[in-house]
């Protein structure tokens, strides 16, 4: 009986806090009045509902803590471990055939393109944050460099997508090296703010250097990728994909083509990362994350190793940016805000820093789910923010919190998250 009373007291306290918190914003509403000033109106019903909901939610939470089944985690974890081997190949097969699933509306292929783009960005940032343990809050800068490089090269010099793709990567990598050189010796959180600052500087430059970048209006008429010179035009006729293969032109053709391009790019990123992990370089990145001082004492050039991680991560960001510009044919500074950096970082952390498969799962959840909730458009970001908090509190180490060693004498065993460091900068 006392337990119930305690619960009620606890929930009442929480509800009181909720009252204080919600009162100004939910209980009252600012509006412009006719006199040109501001006036307030009261919304007692909304406030009461919010407080009431909080009260009930708290009770539910307390009850769940009380009566939840003991240690279900052990069984789930073991099952997940076993099935883990099959998840990755299954996802790969699904990704390969998805556009050809019968009856699939274009919107889903488009969503696939979006998710794949973020998967690639996640895999790129994973090298920096997950493997090397460098806290980069400005990854969007490389995305932007890639996109704008392609846009400017294409509109000023008439180069096509395939020519610009490697250039975009190289330019992004150069920018990454240039940026990384002075700042990579900074301690973790200092590095974080500086990378964030650089991301913002890039955004400010592309917004304000109107003569070069078109400013807030962006750049339009960016050429779309071609298949060996065949354009994907709705007009049909010679020189187009539809014309060459004798098909009726259909928008799904272009979207499918785009989908396979990004899939290929993403798989390239993944392949390079997996290979690098088994190389001394990848191992050095992970060792850096674990203990930088020990690395130095073993003769590893810490600065160059960090720079390489930064530059390679930047390169993949650049590739993704180039693709992004080609996808819509149009880019503007609005697409390169801190929110993008934060989203990609959240994908990496949610996936379980360092895990490739985790990034895929996290991207599906974080991009796929909000996209499907289009009906709740105005509440989308609200739910997104809340989801980030909730997911981190519940699963701080992300979906896949184990690490697979890259070499073994006998059998490689998964290493649990408690032993893995997250880097100090």
């Amino acid at each position: 009986m006392t337990r119930a009373v305690d619960m009620l007291k606890d929930a009442a306290a929480v509800a009181f806090f909720a009252l204080l918190i919600f009162a100004p914003f939910l209980g009252l509403q600012l509006s412009d009045n006719d006199a040109g000033g501001l006036s307030l109106s009261a919304r007692p019903a909304l406030l009461a509902a919010a407080v009431g909901l909080t009260f009930l939610a708290r009770i539910a939470m307390l009850l769940w803590h009380q009566y939840r089944p003991a240690a279900p985690n052990v069984h789930i974890a073991a099952a997940a471990q076993k099935s883990g081997k099959y998840i990755a190949p299954a996802l790969l097969v699904f990704a390969l055939v998805m556009p050809f699933l019968p009856g699939l509306p274009n919107a889903y292929i488009d969503l696939g393109v979006l998710i794949m783009t973020y998967v690639m960005l996640g895999w790129g940032l994973n090298i920096v944050v997950g493997l090397a343990g460098l806290l980069d809050l400005g990854y969007v800068a490389f995305y932007a460099v890639g996109a704008y490089s392609f846009a400017l090269l294409a509109t000023n010099f008439g180069l096509g997508f395939w020519e610009c793709l490697p250039l975009a990567g190289i330019l992004a990598a150069c920018w990454g090296t240039f940026l990384g050189f002075p700042v990579l010796r900074l301690r973790g959180d200092y590095l974080a703010i500086v990378t964030l600052a650089f991301g913002e500087i890039i955004r400010l430059i592309i917004t304000n250097w109107v003569s070069l970048t078109g400013g807030p209006n962006g750049i339009t008429d960016i050429p779309r990728p071609t298949l060996f010179g065949l354009k994907f035009s709705m007009a049909g006729g010679p020189g187009t994909f539809a014309g060459f293969f004798g098909l009726d032109p259909h928008p799904s053709q272009r979207i499918t083509f785009l989908y396979y391009i990004i899939l290929a790019l993403a798989l390239l990123t993944n392949w390079v990362t997996m290979r690098l992990r088994r190389q001394p370089l990848g191992r050095a990145w992970e060792a850096l994350r674990e203990d930088e001082t020990a690395c130095r004492s073993l003769g590893i050039n810490v600065r160059n190793t960090k720079l390489t991680a930064f530059a390679i991560g930047a390169m993949f960001g650049g590739f993704a940016g180039c693709f992004f510009a080609a996808r819509d044919g149009f880019i503007s500074p609005d697409s390169f805000t801190f929110m993008e950096s934060a989203t990609v970082l959240a994908i990496v952390v949610l996936g379980g820093a360092g895990s490739q498969l985790g990034v895929v799962l996290a991207a599906c959840v974080m991009i796929g789910v909000p996209a499907m909730l289009q009906s709740l458009q105005i509440y989308r970001m609200l739910i997104f923010g809340a989801a980030l908090v909730v997911i981190m509190v519940v699963k701080p180490r992300g979906f896949i919190s184990t690490r697979r060693p890259t070499v073994a004498l006998r059998k490689a065993k998964e290493i649990g998250a408690e032993l893995i460091a997250q880097g100090r900068g």
Partner: protein, 270 residues
């Protein structure tokens, strides 16, 4: 033949002089121990030799082939060019990586060179495979020497304390140093583990590597050192063989102060 020469080394932190004009030499193939009461400046001296502090004045030279000034090298070059490896007082293993992986990271520079800037390695061509196999063999050798072969695939962070200490030594040896510096290798070890450590260090010496160690455990120091340097308040107060140090009144006074209670006890320990 001298392997390490420390000349007039001084290290000042603001107003505090931690190491005051210390000079000594370590002979090749010897185990040289640096001892002294707490606060004597041993770790500071050590950190200067291994490149973690830049000395205020003085020089540290490693004599393997061409003499090389260690105090002029950047941190990571000490292991690479100077061929000086070290272990740490607070174990610094790569906890989230297996024992084997730890030892492979130690061989990074050699392996990295074989990958041809990483590109050839990614593509799977070149001599990388052979080099990696050789590196694994070297790792296996040192795992066997330190009795850790069974635990090669276990995460380093999950190993028991004594095993972690040994792994750190194995890792340092994988860099193929000419001078191995150990910072309190016996700290926290029980008598049986200390004896095993002694054997390991003697084996390392027999293989040709010189050792330099800081140690408080007199059992280890007296049993295996060929040469002892004693510091007190940043200054060198004695320098000689274990027998000489044992009977040096300055050393006894430094450990005890001026009084003579417990003098007998110290004499027995020493």
């Amino acid at each position: 033949m001298t392997i390490l020469q420390v000349e007039n080394l001084t290290m000042r932190f603001g107003g505090l002089t931690a190491v005051n004009n210390v000079s000594f030499t370590a002979q090749q193939g010897n185990i040289t121990a640096i001892i002294g009461p707490n606060g004597a400046g041993k770790t500071t001296l050590f950190n200067c030799i291994t490149g973690f502090y830049k000395p205020t004045s003085g020089g540290i030279t490693i004599m393997h082939g061409k003499p090389l000034r260690l105090d002029k090298l950047p941190g990571h070059a000490i292991a690479r060019k100077g061929r000086v490896a070290r272990t740490f007082q607070n174990i610094r293993l790569f906890g989230g990586m297996t024992a084997l992986e730890n030892l492979l990271v130690a061989q990074h520079n050699k392996l990295q060179a074989a990958t041809g800037f990483g590109v050839l390695g990614i593509l799977g061509i070149g001599k990388y495979r052979a080099e990696e196999r050789a590196a694994i063999e070297r790792a296996k050798y040192w795992l066997a020497q330190t009795g850790l072969l069974e635990r090669a695939d276990d995460p380093a962070g999950a190993l028991p304390y004594g095993a972690q200490r040994r792994l750190e030594i194995a890792r340092a040896m994988c860099t193929e140093p000419v001078l191995l510096c150990l910072d309190e290798p016996a700290a926290g070890l029980n008598p049986r583990e200390s004896a095993a450590l002694n054997e390991l260090l003697l084996n390392i010496r027999a293989d040709g590597t010189s050792l330099l160690l800081i140690e408080h455990d007199m059992g280890v120091v007296m049993k295996i050192s060929d040469h002892i340097v004693v510091l007190d308040h940043g200054k060198k107060i004695a320098d000689g063989t274990p027998a000489e140090i044992r009977s040096d009144p300055h050393v006894i006074a430094a450990y005890l102060g001026e009084g003579d209670e417990g003098l007998e006890e110290t004499e027995t320990t020493l």
